[in-house]
Amino acid sequence: MSTAAPRPAAAPVVEMSGITIEFPGVRALDGVGLRLFPGEVHALMGENGAGKSTLIKALTGVYRYDSGTVTVDGVEQQFATPADAQAAGISTVYQEVNLCPNLTVTENVVLGREPRKRGSIDRRASRERTRRVLAELNLDLDPGSILGRHPIALQQLVAIARAVDTDAKVLVLDEPTSSLDAGEVAELFRVVRTLRDRGVAILFVSHFLDQVYEISDRMTVLRNGRLVAEHRTAELPRLQLVQEMIGRELSTLEHLEREPAHEAPADAVPRLRARGLGRTGAIAPTDLDVHAGRVTGLAGLLGSGRTELTRLLFGADRASSGTVEVDGRPVKLRTPRTAIAEGIAFCSEDRKGEGVVGDLTVRDNVLLALQARRGWLRRIPTKQGDELVAKYIKALDIRPAHPDALIRNLSGGNQQKVLLARWLLTEPRLLLLDEPTRGIDIGAKAQIQALVSQLASEGMSVVFVSAELEEVLRISDRITVLRDHRTVADVDGSTATLDSVVDLIASGGDRA
């Protein structure tokens, strides 16, 4: 009965209790409660699909709940729309970026509450206000630029800027840090602390335990749509937190600490050799060798060209210079299809826009790449397809484990696993993973990392991109460091340390 955390002096601003939400076939929330106190950062913890986002949407009027109550400042409320919740002082950043890509940064930040002068929108004031919030987050962004042209991570920061730019009494952040690197996270936390000290109640979701422990004062743990417990962060050991989240002892996480040890003959022909590969405006000409059975990590800040480089290797964008050899044979990676034919697979960082096919089932999504490679005429026989899908659902622990569920109804982390399954099915020889663990809970993350190690030891080459440096370090045999759209260093994964890589990223590798 650990629900009884010590009572703070102030009364909660938000109190949810007994919230139940059912979707057709799934009870996403079952009698869940949550209390947010002014001047506190509250972390909402749970595995992928535990119901965190759903709880947030219940609070902010996106979903109507079947039973339960929400009180704000002691008054019972059922918000009909997000606008109502906003009006009541609850400002929210939802899990996926939810802004308008066609509008400018300024327009997005002030949308719906534009400063006005004599009835019409005051553009100058809008711009000024945006500059101010961006500066507060230490963001160097042109307020007049179109939002959609920026990478996802920057868009997420703009979403945060928008949420911060209110005098809200409650700020809800659903996985705001999933695509940010350490620097941005620090800036965000600085702002969060300022707001907290101003008395704002903050609800924070993240799968990064370090971050949660750094910033939060209180935690609520959910598992499978149920409330497990509420704790004061200071009183909750990590191990217990993890146990509460996953409901079992943490044996899988041992992998986290395992050092990779993939032997690769240094003189062998690399599986993939890129020379002077570049694309005007995206990435300067780059050399890269990826060996069989090795994990090559790409490290760098946001916008350093990690994603751009990976896309070139897959033919998702066309290179404007350079050559690529696969197993010593020159190949032209003009389209994804040519890359796939060479045994290359690519998991995009933009899960929503470039990964999931929402109208299709989990099954069809898993089989998509394999089917596309076989061509439309040679349909994967039903039985074989079912078996493959079942195998990967099990192997990756995709939940809910229904092949016929629509993928768009899965939680973010589970969608990611489906996409991984899609590519593993094609048995690629080179796997390009762009942020494969973004938004994935720690249990699953460990699974995926273990999987990558295992695949590599079985002979697959992996290019691993992640904003989380520790992860890159842990998993890679070789690390290529990028900065400002070009590679600045190439270091051995076993000898590199966090500090040395951070140093390279910051200084730009003066040995050029």
Binding site: P82, L111, G112, R149, G281, R486
Partner: protein, 350 residues
């Protein structure tokens, strides 16, 4: 390669967008990022093509260069301009309004038949405008509240409006009302022996109001936001529902107003007027650089789009010798040239 760039973020790195910046490209980049909807550039392309097209006409036919020929583009298409403005609102939200041609016809029929019965002209005007707005509002409500697809709802609206036309009167009814004929026949004299009609004046006022509303009010911003990402707009707390219903009501109003202008132009009401005019309006909007997927476009572009269509028409009528089928083919080909050039010149944007 020197590595003197020390501070993060200030390196002379290729900018994320367009790195190889010649002057032209810098200007291009500036254009691409100005203002709402980022469509300034496509509008400029349209303007340029319009000038080229008109220039070609001037070279080919000796009388084409007269100022009145240019003004006639407005005079002959005042109704279409108003229609295109309404259509722009709808298309900017990612919707479409197929009913506008039929509503034009319905407006002419209602106006003509009521005037024939001796109703007072101002009352008739108000009634027609109210009918159009109401119809648009109903369609908007169906789109939003019933979550039906705009294409289908407005197609049904189109059938309904045409059906009502037939019920009111199948044969064409002439308009002899003093106010209407007066407005139709009196013109605004301009220097240089040229003129404009009152219809043009009304159309231009409508354009001006639309520009203001779309760019200077929260309502306008919401329209663009919905077109960009409706779901996000909802989550950001914008009045998505109200705005969506409103744009269809606006389009309905514009169609009715367009219908009134058309009845001034043609002085009759007939159930078969304006068949396919919605397609003209859509084409004008698209030629003007607005994306049918919503979220990007300018009203001024739609105005230019109408003028382009008008220029094509007058080129053909200047030729005189064209059979009706060559007319159709020519319009098709010019439309093609337009969308292809438009497309190719804006291609690199994504």
């Amino acid at each position: 390669m020197t590595a003197t760039d020390s501070a993060t973020g200030t390196a002379p790195a290729p900018a994320p967008e367009r790195p190889d910046r010649s002057l032209g490209q810098a200007a291009y980049a500036w254009l691409r990022r100005t203002d709402t909807g980022s469509s300034t550039f496509s509008v400029l392309v349209t303007a340029l093509l319009l000038v080229v097209l008109f220039g070609a006409g001037t070279l080919r036919y000796e009388n084409f260069g007269y100022p009145q020929v240019a003004l006639n583009l407005l005079v002959d298409n005042a109704h279409l301009i108003v229609l295109a403005v309404g259509m722009t609102f709808v298309i900017l939200t990612g919707g479409i309004d197929l009913s506008s041609g039929a509503v034009v016809a319905l407006s002419t029929v209602i106006a003509a038949s009521l005037l024939q019965k001796g109703w007072a002209a101002p009352l008739v005007i108000v009634l027609v405008l109210a009918t159009g707005t109401l119809l648009g509002w109903a369609m908007g409500a169906a789109v939003h509240h019933l979550q039906l697809q705009p294409f289908i709802v407005t197609l049904a609206g189109m059938f309904l409006a045409r059906g009502l036309c037939f019920v009111i009167s199948e044969p064409s009814i002439p308009i002899r009302d003093d106010l209407f004929t007066g407005l139709a026949q009196n013109v605004i004299e301009l220097p240089g022996n040229t003129y404009l009609t009152y219809g043009v004046l009304i159309a231009l006022v409508v354009v001006a109001i639309a520009v203001y509303v779309l760019h200077r009010t929260r309502f306008g911003r919401t329209v663009y936001a919905i077109g960009g990402n409706e779901q996000s707009a909802g989550l950001m707390g914008l009045a998505v529902g109200r705005t969506k219903v409103a744009v269809y009501a606006i389009s309905g109003f514009c169609s009715a107003l367009g219908g009134l202008l058309f009845s001034l132009y043609i002085l009759s009401g007939w159930s078969l007027h304006a068949i396919g005019m919605e397609l003209d309006a859509i084409a004008a909007v698209v030629i003007g650089g607005t994306l049918l997927t919503g979220g990007s476009g300018l009203v001024v572009g739609s105005l230019l789009g109408v003028l382009v269509l008008g220029t094509i028409q007058s080129l053909i009528s200047f030729d005189g010798g064209l059979s009706s089928w060559w007319t159709k083919i020519t319009i098709g080909v010019l439309l093609l040239v337009f969308v292809v050039v438009q497309r190719l010149s804006t291609r690199s944007s994504r």
